[in-house]
Amino acid sequence: MSEPSTPGQYHPASKLSLVRILRRSLVHRRARSISALVALTVSAGVATALLTLYADLDNKLHKEFRSFGANIVVTATANAVLPPDTLSKVQQAAGPAALTAPFAYAVATTDTGTSVVVSGTDFAAVRRLNSWWQVSNWPDPSGQPSPALLGQRAANFIGDEHSVKLTFASKSVTLNGTGRLKTGGDEDSRIYMPLEAFTAWTGVTPSVIEVQISGGTAAIDTALAQLKQALPGVQVQPVRQLVEGESRIVDRTHALMYAALLLIALTVGVSVLATLSASVLERRRDFALMKALGGTQIHLMSIFLFEALILALAGVFVGFVIGSAAAFAISEINFHTATLPRLSVMPLVLLLNLAIALLAAFFPARVLRGLQPAALLKGE
């Protein structure tokens, strides 16, 4: 579209279109346009930053809790052991995605005469299930025979960690400690060794199977029910504290995010409302004149709504860039991780901004409808 480049000059075929009217209005009334644009940019920017961080945090939370170990334990009833096929039954009932690890326990004596809890387990399974364990060096499955992990408290009363001599029911084994284990819990005073060697030595089979179901509370509840049904006569219990804690934290984070978003949308909505309303009210006379020139309600509304639309769209684009940068900076500073821009939040941001703009347009639209050109244009 062409237009006069300098006053007094113009293109002969030039037309007056809605676009030209809007551009003139937006450019001429710069201060008003910019303040409306700033308000709509802020709303889009904040929404982008929050949604981006939120999506990222949601991912992180789920990963963190996933790495937080078992959320269901299967245990034998008092003084009994689990039937030999329990592990495969658990895996079957919980589904292939579930992580499982068996544990057998016995109390042995060290060569200095101290009692220590020894546990036989599957190192590969434990390593996946309890990935949060701090282990200095996991046993290499194809490495030396009789490897062991020494809890850091247990290691304190052991002389030579590479040659740990233990006695159980007058049978002795010598284990080769490959690394130390630190969890901050009971694990720290135990010694872990491969289950097969443990059972060969002590004759004790697993009494505990830890299960980790990924997903929310609903997935865990389903798995619990399935396990209980598949395994009558054994105890199937959720690791309650963790399960409830997880969903509570996630729920709270959700609620917090939504509340913040709603609050900001409201605040910005009010300020956009004020700006757009003022922008129409100060042009009441212009709109009255347009009506006098034969402009219909639709003509007037389209000028006004397209103006709001243009500002809302411009706000989304500028706001998305600023919001994404803010999200990146916030996560870099607080979590030391990079949160990259997510295009997937764009539709929601767009929707939010359009909703704000339309809502803010509602009041001035009412003013326009009640506009009395006669009262506004009269002489004297």
Partner: protein, 253 residues
């Protein structure tokens, strides 16, 4: 002479006017306009009955607050009568929806305002094109020709703020003319102008009248009023009308 007497005197002359309803481009029959005030009702116009024929130049006069703007706004379809029948070009205004009225206004009426009412962010030519925009198609050449006609061919790209009052009023006249409406309504067109610019505007109106436009003009200025063929005097919302082709008399009160 009392008001009632004036009315009686003028009424006796009316048949000269109402016998030619076929030519009437504007006709009013018992038109009232009331404003709902605080508690009481303000009667801005009472029982107005008269016609204006095509090609006439009519001056509407009267003191401030006598209902001149109220009348002109209804003639311009910006406002509707509370009671009575108003026909513009033989169409009853009451029969039209507000959207039809908007359309009708674009076709039939050209407005000239005392305060010009130009859009501040549009150039002179764009202001003229705005009337085209709401009417049908915009055509910059035509709009420029209209500005040329009012002697502003060299100022088409200027914003209203860059023009003098007289120049702004001429843009306003060009805008009123652009769609070639049969009726021109001017509410105090020279009220804000100095003598030199008043003369220019008066000449333009004379031109328009000569070219067959019906001109209805509100004015305070007796000199401007003498340009018109006929006067419609208003006093406290009552119309004192002179017949078509009748003498222009000043109301004594």
């Amino acid at each position: 002479m009392s008001e009632a007497k004036v009315v009686a005197e003028i009424k006796s002359d009316w048949p000269a006017n109402t016998t030619r309803p076929d030519c009437a481009v504007i006709s009013l029959e018992g038109v009232c306009r009331e404003y709902a005030g605080r508690g009481d009702v303000v009667r801005a116009l009472e029982d107005a009955t008269f016609s204006i024929v095509a090609g006439e130049w009519v001056a509407i006069t009267g003191p401030s607050g006598s209902g001149k703007s109220t009348l002109v706004n209804m003639l311009g379809c910006l406002d509707r009568p509370t009671r009575g029948e108003l026909k513009i070009d033989n169409v009853d205004v009451a029969s039209m929806s507000s959207t039809e009225l908007d359309r009708f206004r674009a076709e039939k009426i050209g407005f000239i305002f005392q305060q010009f009412h130009l859009i501040p962010y549009l150039s002179a030519v764009e202001n003229v094109m705005l009337a085209q925009y709401f009417h049908s198609m915009t055509d910059e050449k035509e709009a420029k020709a209209a500005l040329d006609r009012v002697g502003l061919g060299h100022r088409t790209g200027h914003l209203p703020s860059e023009l003098s009052g007289g120049e702004q009023q001429r843009v306003c006249i060009a805008r009123a003319l652009i769609n070639n409406p049969p009726i021109l309504l001017a509410d105090e067109p020279t009220g804000n102008l100095d003598a030199a610019n008043q003369a220019i505007v008066a000449d333009l109106l004379k031109d328009l009248h000569r070219n067959g436009h019906t001109v209805v003009m509100v004015t305070h200025d007796p000199e401007m009023a003498t340009l018109a063929q006929r006067r419609i005097a208003l006093s406290h919302g009552k119309v004192f009308c002179h017949p078509v082709g009748g003498p222009i008399v000043t109301l004594r009160r």
